[in-house]
Each structure stands twice: as C-alpha cells, then as structure tokens.
Symmetry: C2
Subunit: 369 residues, 2 copies
C-alpha cells in the first residue's frame, strides 16, 4: 500500500500537524499566470525547482510552456531527470571528482547544462566527458553585482567561453547571471532600476563575446521578483523564477509580485497549549518553518501574532483575549521563505476545496549534494 | 548492500559535500564527562535526543549511565522506542486524537512519560488509555519563567496533579520545568542566578504539592548550559541536557560549558568558487547549516570569515589574500546550533583519526509530528 493513501479524501482540518499544504487551485493559477506572461515575450521560462523540489510540479510547469527546469544541486537534477525531464540547467558550479562523475552520468540521460566560472573546473568536466563519451552543455556564470559566484563580464567571461569552445565534449551555450541582490527589493521602481542595471552587465558581456566572434545562444537569469523586468529584456532568452509557483509572505509583499501570484503554501499547526489568555503555543517551530526572512504569521487571524520560534514551538501573543484558540485547534501559518521551508518537510498535502486530493513526496528534499 | 557501506574506511577528505561529521573521540569524551558528573550528584541524566535524533547515540548515553531519554516529539519517541529504549519522556504536550492514539500505542511497548499542562488533554489521554488498556506516566509541566508552555506553580499545578491522580490509567510521576531562558547566558554567574531562581519555582511547586499530600517522585528539567547548576539542586531527580553530546559554537562559548565538552560536530564543505582573492564561496548554505544563533564559521582558518549564507552558498571574506583556498578544496564548518543543523541532514559520518568508521542514518530527522 502507498503510505500516503490514507490521507486522500480527508478534510485538511483532519490532518495531523505540522503538515505542509498546497492550495492546488492557487498553485495552478500561479503556473498559468507565469505561463501567460512568457507566452507574450521573447524569453522563455525555465523555472527553478529548488523551490518545490518535486517532479510532478516541474512537469506541470513544463506542460504549461516552460522549456525545461533549473536546479540548484546535482541531487535535485538527478531527482528531476529520473522523473523524465531532459532539459535541466544546474545553475551552480559542479565541483570535485564525485560530483563531476555524476554530472557526466546525467549527460547520458538528459541534455544537462551546468554553470561554470573557473578554468580548472571546465577542464575537469571536459576530461570526464571525454572519458565517458558524453557531451555537457555549459553556461558561463557572470557576476552581475551580487558578488557571489561568477566571472567578471568582459575579458574573463570571453576567455572562459573560448576555453569551453576549444575543449572536447563541451558545448558553449551562453551566459548566466543572477540578479539575486535585486529580486526582493519591495519597491518596484527601485527593483526595476537595480535589476536592469545588473542585467545590462550580462547584455554587455554578450555583446563583448559576439564582438570577438563567440556566439551566445542562451541568456539565462531572473527570479520571481524580476520575472517581468528581466523577462522583458530582449536579449534574455530564459528566466529562472522559482518561488512564484508556491509563493510566500516575503514575495507577496514585493510590490508588483503579489498582484500576479497568490500564496499557495501553508503549514498547518495545532495549538498545544494556551497557558495564559494572551499566549498561544503551536507545534510549529524552526524544524518546520524557516525564519531567515522573518517570523511567519498565522493566516486569517486578527489580534494574533507569532513572536517567537524555538525548535519545536511557535509562541503567539494574543492581543484580543476573546480569540478562542485552545489546545487541539488548528490554524495555518504562511511561510516567509518557501524554498527553505519546503526543505524541512517530507511531503506536501495537495488541497482542493478543503479536501486532500494528492500527497506528493518531496523527492529532492535534503538533496544538498 | 547497505548503501552506507562504500563510505566506511574513506578518509574524511574524500567524502563528498556537504557532509555532517561527528568526531567520535570527542563525542565519546562528552558522553563520559557528563556521565561522570551525574555519577556524583543526586540527580540522574535523561539526555534529550532532539539534538542527535539517532538511536545508537541514545544507547551510548544509556550505557554510560543515563536513566532513559527525553524526546521533543512523538515521532522521535517512536524512532527511539523502536530501537529498544523503554524509559522515554516526551517533554512536550501531545495533543489531538491521532497523536494521543500513537502515544497510547507506545505505552504498550515502553514506559512512556509525557508532559501535560491542560485538563482537557489529561482527560483525553486518560480515556484513550482506558480504551486500550494502557497506562501513561505524566509530569505536570510548570512555567518557571520561560513563558512558553506549562501551568503556573502553586494551585494550578496542584489541581492538574490531583486530576491526574483521580484519572484512570494515568500515573502522576512529578513535575517538569525547563529553564530555557537561562541555559545559554554566556556569563556563568548570571546564568547561575537566573537558573537557580527558575528552578526554585519548581522546587516551591513540589513543596506545595507535598503540603497537599501529593507525592512528587520525579523532578525533571535542565539543559546543557545548566547541567551542573540544575543538576546540583538536591530536589532535582533528572536533567534533560542534550546538546552536550555534539556541542556547537554557541554552547562552547557559554562560560563553564566549553571547559567540559568539546565540539564533536562539523559540516564538511567544498570551495565551489573563488571569483576574487578576497572572496571564497562554499557549497554549504541554509539548507545544511542553521543560522538562528549566528553564522557558522570555518574551523582552523585564520583570516577567513563566513559573512553570508544563502540557500545553497556560503560566502566567505578572506582578509589575507595569501590564503590558498581554491575550488575543490575542503574545509570544516562549526555549527552554531547543533539541534537544528542535524535536522537538515540524513546521516552522520562518524570519524576517528580522520577515517570514516561508521555511517549513521539520522532516524528521527524531520519527525516533527
């Protein structure tokens, strides 16, 4: 028997907690809204699976028009490719002999593509690809202002691209730049200015390569906060937005994002104690809710604020003592960071009209290698 | 074949990353040091498994003298009881019909004990125990100043204890109070004062119950930061310290704790990029390292500071450009919160003299229900 089977058909309020819920209608509307946007611009959508980590959701995104997916880690790419998706970008550096061996193995079962920013890494991947008779597609990652990974635009990007073109069993596809320092700026005008300034560096890098006779087919970047900024730049061929599919309180409050996408993700909690009229304790702590973007708050409850998260407890202050929450009552918490919250759970309960319609194992949870 | 088998005998530097390492010599010394302390005082040790979440480590603690273990969640207790440990305290409220049914089932296979702070919860557990012919041991949780769960000392604690004594198939064992607001105060004198003040409330509650002819057999509380404060109070019968077994940078810097216990836990990382002489990027981000107690730092590297953690990346600033870190190099990171960091990993690599001696699946990882 499928161990998830007993949950199907239950009302969500019957689920034991903590439980990670997806409102399926909202998720489908988010997928449709993003697909609709990318049907009208030059760029395509290559959604980031680091958010949901789950093959069936990736397949839904592709069915709606996405050209493939983006992964953060090799382990995520394995989970996705094993589920039949072939056009996968690992938008990070794959470093070290064990990981390069796994990358090459994936190239035998997919059109895997990987970001690089280092000459020795390019050489090591080429040698492994030759030994196995595989071909690996590559994007040069360019630092466009986030100051994390990536070579600088101009000559460093050109030199790495030329090395890839000279190397056996590698295919230079283009450039990648992530404007991660801009995607969550709440003010739309500021975000627009910062993101365009960042992406211009990627566009300049492309022109520099072309001036030196290096063709750039793929221009990849973007996130949920910049989907219709980066997505509207004519030189960009694909956008890696991920969070839009599930959303969270942080992105919902980014001006111009909450208009398009609704919060489909929540964590169901149970009140375990109400030791004082002004204090409610729930069973959702740091082991099921991320808080690096702020303490998550309950949905649809006035006068109730989550003020602290310890490992296994959420502490809520109740300013209105007539709020009726008592031990055993359930409530939903809206995450402030969907990606890291999902990583704390083993499965989603897919809810429609209040009823559990599907239970999806989060296949790439914890796949940090 | 055991999927962990290929790792045994490897040098730790050969492990792919991110990987969670235990220095076995240090862990064993921590277990011995704590056991030695509790061999000399009235109180016993009931170590908290929320830290390590792994049956074999719990068995080692018991073999060294611990009377049983403490769990945070029912799912942790199931993992531990299934591994043959019988004296288990769930130091939190078990609320709701599904969880109460699981609690009662565990009572058929163990001497399970649970914390309570609510009359309806006591009644529900009693009714379920009667229906199943099981007996559940109970501690009344008393709020001793942390202001999370727990009834107030005095009359509320007495009334709940008396209810338990009147209820069928329940056994009132005593009182529990967690001085969690004091355990990590770095200054020993301040910690001592605050912890003694908190524990006095529990002692007063005991005396109040005894004055009303309610015998209190068990007095449970304490953490790693107060093991030899709370552990030295004559009325306390057991201490729930957990972090001491693995330790982390936060507890190591609590005055009087680092003297007794060494840091046995680390996360092995790989440098994935060095795009600038002053910037190193490693493959350990928020999905493998908790940061609620501060950003973890590399072990034994001068002039290198981790300044940021995003989902999959750690960003390090290198003040000494002659530091030789390059892509592919490995380094160890010292967690700042062992419990939540362990919860992000599926297995430990047990290391002795640099070699992988054992691989332990973290059986209770993610068991948040």
């Amino acid at each position: 028997m499928n161990t998830n089977e007993p949950f199907i058909g239950m009302h969500k309020a019957e689920l034991d907690t903590p439980a990670l819920l997806i409102d399926l209608d909202k998720m489908e509307a988010n997928i449709a809204a993003m697909a609709n946007y990318f049907s009208k611009v030059n760029a395509d959508l290559r959604p980031h699976v680091k958010t949901h980590k789950t093959p069936i959701i990736a397949h839904k995104q592709i069915a709606a028009g996405a050209i493939g997916v983006t992964c953060a880690k090799l382990g995520e790419a394995e989970a996705i490719i094993h589920a039949g998706i072939r056009d996968v970008l690992i938008a990070n550096q794959v470093v070290g002999p064990q990981k390069i061996a796994r990358l090459i193995n994936l190239a035998k079962h997919s059109e895997i593509m990987v970001a690089v920013d280092n000459a020795q890494n390019v050489q090591a991947i080429s040698e492994a690809a030759v030994a196995k008779g595989a071909t690996v597609r590559m994007l040069v990652e360019v630092n466009i202002g986030m100051n994390r990974c990536g070579v600088e635009p101009g000559k460093p990007a050109l030199e790495l691209a030329e090395q890839i073109r000279r190397s056996q069993n590698l295919s230079f596809e283009g450039l990648m730049g992530y404007e991660g320092h801009t995607v969550a700026k709440p003010n739309r005008a500021e975000r627009n200015t910062a993101a365009r300034e960042a992406m211009q560096r990627l566009v300049d890098a492309k022109h520099y390569l072309e001036k030196h006779n290096v063709a750039v087919s793929i221009m990849s970047g973007g996130g949920t906060g910049t989907f219709n900024i980066t997505g509207s730049i004519p030189e960009m061929t694909e956008v890696q937005a991920g969070s839009y599919v599930l959303m969270d309180a942080t992105y919902y409050n980014v001006e111009g994002v909450g208009d398009h996408f609704d919060c489909a993700l929540s964590v169901l909690a149970t009140v375990v104690s109400r030791p004082h009229p002004n204090r409610v304790i729930v069973d959702t702590g740091l082991k099921v809710l991320a808080k690096e973007f702020g303490i998550p708050q309950p949905v649809g409850l006035n006068g109730v604020e989550m003020t602290g998260l310890s490992e296994e407890h959420g502490t809520m202050q109740v300013s209105d003592a007539s709020v009726s929450l008592k031990p055993g009552d359930k409530l939903e918490i809206l995450p402030t960071h969907c990606c890291t919250t999902v990583n704390l759970h083993d499965r989603y309960y897919g809810i429609r009209n209040g009823i559990v319609e599907s239970v999806w194992n989060i296949a790439a949870r914890g796949k940090a290698q």
